[in-house]
Symmetry: C2
Subunit: 277 residues, 2 copies
């Protein structure tokens, strides 16, 4: 899997890079971005993964999230994966919320999605290995994400507490097995047996597994997608389980990157504190 450098830009004293590489899991070339803070020039730094939401690529959070300043302040790297396989021969759907740009961080088992839509394996195995080569050393990794990416961050972290030391989310899709942002996609990717869906539902995983540390969730109170995100399900599961953490309902904020960028600094600082301890 040779790594191709697509771009490199100096940013806040570090380097914002975009790479392409062949993915075994997805069976296609994948693009991702990495912000290496200035401290990376002097030795290993902790790594924060940011998983993006529906319709996004590696680029949205890289250009609009404003994470670089805070990552440089705290000396941690940030990885921005794509949200699905792409390219000729990769299945797609006309809807914005299925197929390309909508991988939901699952391993698809049904046609036409199964051959390429293995985003779960891509994140925890393929890209994890590539990132370990790019940002070497015995360093801790944290994971966060927005919307569909918040769903990805929470579910991947809870299922892989050995891989990730910290987790947070921005307006996550919190209960996809009971939402139109979830039931449609889990049915398409996994089939109609709902028993197979639970492994990809943050609320159900929290009830079953919980999380080893504390977790930070931010949600805009004026989010236009509250009915689809179902934050009350996750908050209810957190409190019922006595899960350590914070669920913050932020007055006046919507679902956009203006919300994400406003709280990006809080999340980077929160992960940095846990990844460096």
């Amino acid at each position: 899997m040779p790594l191709e450098v697509i771009s490199e830009n100096r940013s806040f004293g570090g380097v914002q890079s975009v790479y392409s590489h062949g993915s075994d899991a997805c069976g296609c070339d994948m693009t991702f971005a990495v912000y290496a803070p200035p401290q990376a020039a002097d030795g290993p730094v902790p790594v924060l993964w940011y998983l993006s939401g529906l319709t996004c690529t590696h680029e949205n959070a890289m250009t609009k999230g404003g994470f670089q300043k805070f990552a440089a302040d705290h000396g941690i790297a940030v990885v921005f994966p794509d949200t699905s396989p792409r390219g000729e021969g990769v299945a797609d759907d006309e809807a914005y919320d299925l197929g390309m740009g909508a991988g939901f961080y699952v391993n698809a088992t049904r046609e036409p999605w199964a051959p390429h839509f293995k985003m779960y394996d891509y994140i925890v195995s393929d890209l994890r290995g590539v990132v370990a080569d790019l940002l070497p050393g015995d360093v801790a990794h944290g994971i966060t994400g927005h919307s569909m990416g918040g769903h990805g961050a929470l579910t991947i972290a809870m299922k892989n507490p050995d891989l990730f030391a910290s987790v947070s989310a921005f307006a996550p899709i919190a209960n996809p097995t009971r939402s139109d942002w979830g039931r449609k996609q889990l049915s398409a990717y996994l089939g109609d047996d709902e028993a197979n869906w639970a492994q990809y539902d943050a609320t159900l995983l929290l009830e079953e597994l919980g999380w080893k540390g504390d977790m930070l969730i931010d949600q805009g109170a004026d989010d236009q997608f509250l009915d689809l995100l179902k934050p009350e399900a996750l908050a209810g599961a957190m409190t019922a389980r006595r899960q350590p953490g914070q669920f913050r309902m932020q007055a006046g904020y919507d679902h956009s990157y203006y919300f994400v960028s406003t709280f990006a600094g809080d999340h980077v600082a929160w992960h940095a504190e846990r990844l460096k301890s």
Copy 2:
């Protein structure tokens, strides 16, 4: 000129808005963005204008510049105008650097540009009036910009020291009368008599008028457009005139918004100090 609200998003405790309004100067509808910091809810706040570069609209710096955090920290508003008139009936050119997206902040006097390309009047008169209504009070205004917008900020400030109390620029087109980023456009918009061009050249205006205060210029040392920007002309004029200010050559930075966002905080702080004094 009724003002139409296109969007409003909560950002860093304030509001990032986009508006449309009819412009007398340009003879068409114009779009612009305003970030109002949280302090604007309690009273008048100083205003920083950010003029964008070639190919940009009001949106690029609004989404990629990262100014909102710093504007909220310092309690100043930021205005993001478009870079040219747009719409049906507005002249254009196939080149990226002439016509729509490339107004160069001049008042065009030649066909086919003269009817709409009055970006100088649009900024100092039309939009200035609209902004005064949106952000009322006896407040000071500063101006900055990137590339073509840095050219706009420097030339507009030096010609209007009564309107602006502070000026800075990111990688400005510094000497357009002697650059391919300038000669082509000034010739098209103003005709071939170069005597008419000097009023839109920051280096020549600095030699002739200077600036009443100090000025801050940032330039990436690895900027891919150094030959077109001609920073050495502006730095030479600044030092020859003993113009107070700073010209900072930033190692490793290119011409992108990664450069702008890295130094956005410095510029906002610099303007805030002068606008509030």
